[in-house]
């Protein structure tokens, strides 16, 4: 875990509000684990930043050879708006790697379930697993075809992708939990890993309970620091409040109390 500035080396706009930012940092590129994240400044002016707080972002992909890693950013407010405007070469303050990781159980069928920008933590997981025997499958839902960003990246790793769009412009029409339900019918002993909007996570949890499958959820919530200093990122579990930045962001989905998740 370090506080450092990484240079922005490449930027790719994927659609109206989704961007891939590539940074150079040897250590992150070689040590980041699936599920981990970084706190990234939304303003490169270190003396007087505005907004002041850093923002949490999952590591998307790593490229150890070229000492690069990438972040998938969806613009939702001021901070993300400013971040996607960073010029190439900008030295961006950040803290990482932070948080725990997805537990891998190769003897199970790993099933990644992503809604929208919830896709972010799964590419690194697919990268780490590719080449190894076990292939995870991806269930990926979004509003419309254009919102299914980085699908090619997954396909190029030969990940089996089951897509769903609410408007039916690509894959099954409707929510991704419908094809997922059929899949769980057909396959016993799956290990579910989910990240996305509340409604989706709630539905996935119901399915996991129904099929008694293990469930790992990467949660989103406001984070003040990312390293356990502010106690601001509590999520409610059956064992009480837990700090998402230290005990998470990946939690046992069966232990999360939904009403206890922050409303972001």
């Amino acid at each position: 875990m370090r506080y450092f500035a990484a240079p922005l080396v490449e930027k790719r706009q994927l659609n109206r509000d989704n961007f891939l930012l590539y940074f150079r940092d040897e250590e992150i590129a070689s040590t980041a684990l699936p599920g981990q994240f970084a706190m990234i400044a939304a303003d490169t002016n270190i003396a007087d930043p505005f907004p002041i707080l850093m923002r949490p972002f999952s590591f998307f992909g790593v490229d150890a050879e070229n000492r690069r890693f990438s972040i998938l950013i969806k613009v939702v407010g001021l901070g993300t708006q400013l971040m996607v405007q960073f010029p190439i070469g900008a030295q961006v303050p950040m803290i990482g790697p932070l948080g725990n990781q997805f537990e891998l159980c190769p003897w199970k069928q790993m099933v990644m379930v992503a809604g929208g920008v919830g896709i972010a933590p799964f590419y690194l997981l697919a990268q780490k697993l590719s080449g190894r025997g076990t292939q995870p499958v991806l269930f990926y839902g979004a509003r419309s075809r254009d919102d299914l960003v980085t699908m090619e990246e997954f396909q190029s790793l030969n990940v089996e992708v089951h897509a769903a769009t609410e408007d039916g412009s690509y894959g099954t029409r409707g929510f991704v939990t419908e094809p997922l339900a059929r899949f769980l019918q057909a396959h016993a002993d799956c290990d579910l890993m989910a990240c996305g909007p509340h409604a989706m996570l709630a539905a996935v949890t119901r399915l996991a309970k129904l099929h008694r499958s293990s469930l790992q959820i990467s949660v989103e919530c406001f984070m003040g620091c990312g390293f356990g200093a502010c106690f601001g990122c509590a999520v409610e579990t059956v064992d009480g409040f837990r700090l998402a930045c230290r005990y998470g962001p990946v939690f046992d989905g069966h232990k999360l109390k939904w009403d206890g998740l922050s409303h972001v």
Binding site: M1, R2, Y3, A41, I46, A47, D48, P49, F50, P51, I52, L53, M54, I95, C221, F222, G224, C225, F227, G228, A229, C230, F231, G232, C233, A234, V235, E236, G240, F241, G260, L261, S262, H263, V264
Partner: protein, 319 residues
């Protein structure tokens, strides 16, 4: 960074501090969380997260929200409790040369007294900091820090109970006249006052039409509050004989110098620790360079050195 001309060392209530740049309670956890970012030996003092008699879970989410140059928090004083602190957290922090001050709070006067006595008997630390910005259940929720009589009582009782450790009292800014409350602390036997705690604020999610924080209200901190904090530190240090520790929106060395000029003997860095985890070191280095530039050799030469040309008005006319 040489100490050639300027020596940042200070001492308060018989305890020596390598320098006057400290960390604010609740923004530095139990200290060791910052090991990856800075050399804790260079931190003048660590004021740990507020301690209670028993461990506390804290409030449900959302607990924090960012505002313009500030943040709101309602952590709900989550903490490991005084015993776990002394037995688990403190020994790790004591491996460093930094001084440790325990921030404490209670729901009743008795609770304050019990915690203070326990620490006085069991903790090898440089002081106790009373957080009196907490609602007093017995008095129907009025803050200990908003009624001078209440303040005096709780400070005096803790003083009697904890005779060994220096006693700091941390003031709430949510009052009409902070000087009156500060005087009550001095008369109650406090060795120093620290200010400011957070200002009570609120934020609303206009889409959901709901308060953002689960507790509706939260405490405002960060650069946004600095001008208010600086004014109060100036007022209090003019009025009191005991040392004043300045807090509020300090994120750069220039901010720290402003507080020293206004009369602070030491300062605490709070919210800035979250987004500049090495802020205290940057501020200390900047302070040293400033003092050497200005040929200031010790903190005595800086604290309260503000040149005020005029007779300061009791209360300024707004606008």
């Amino acid at each position: 960074m040489g100490y050639r001309m300027f020596n940042p060392k200070i001492s308060i209530a018989g305890k020596d501090f390598a320098n006057p740049i400290w960390t604010a309670s609740g923004t530095f956890a139990y200290g060791t969380e910052f090991e990856p970012f800075l050399d804790l030996n260079r931190v003048g003092a660590v004021i740990v997260k507020g301690l209670s008699l028993q461990p506390r879970e804290g409030n449900p989410p959302n607990r924090i929200y960012e505002t313009a140059s500030g943040m709101l928090n309602s952590i709900g004083l989550q903490n490991v409790g005084m015993v776990n602190f002394v037995e688990e957290k403190l020994p790790r922090l004591k491996r460093y040369r930094t001084q440790v001050i325990a921030n404490i709070f209670g729901k009743t006067e008795e609770e304050y007294v019990q915690i203070a006595r326990y620490l006085d008997d069991n903790a090898d630390i440089a002081g106790i900091e009373l957080n009196i910005s907490c609602p007093n259940v017995k008095e129907g929720g009025i803050e200990f820090g908003s009624k001078p009589e209440l303040t005096y009582r709780v400070v005096a009782s803790v003083r009697r109970a904890a005779t060994r450790l220096p006693l700091y009292v941390k003031l709430s800014p949510n009052v009409t006249d902070i000087v009156i409350v500060a005087r009550a602390c001095e008369e109650g036997g406090a060795d120093a006052v620290t200010l400011i705690n957070t200002l009570v604020g609120m934020a609303i999610d206009v889409d959901e039409q709901r308060p953002v924080l689960s507790t509706v209200f939260g405490g405002l901190s960060g650069p946004a509050v600095k001008p208010i904090a600086l004014r109060m530190v100036y007022q209090v240090s003019k009025a009191l004989r005991i040392p004043v520790v300045g807090i509020g929106g300090i994120s750069r060395w220039q901010d720290a110098v402003e507080f020293f000029l206004a009369g602070a003997s030491a300062i605490q860095v709070g919210t800035a620790n979250f987004y500049k985890p090495n802020a205290v070191i940057e501020i200390l280095d900047g302070l040293i360079q400033y003092c050497e530039r200005k040929q200031i050799t010790s903190m005595q030469g800086l604290t309260g050195a503000l040149k005020v040309p005029i007779e300061v008005p009791e209360i300024p006319a707004g606008g």
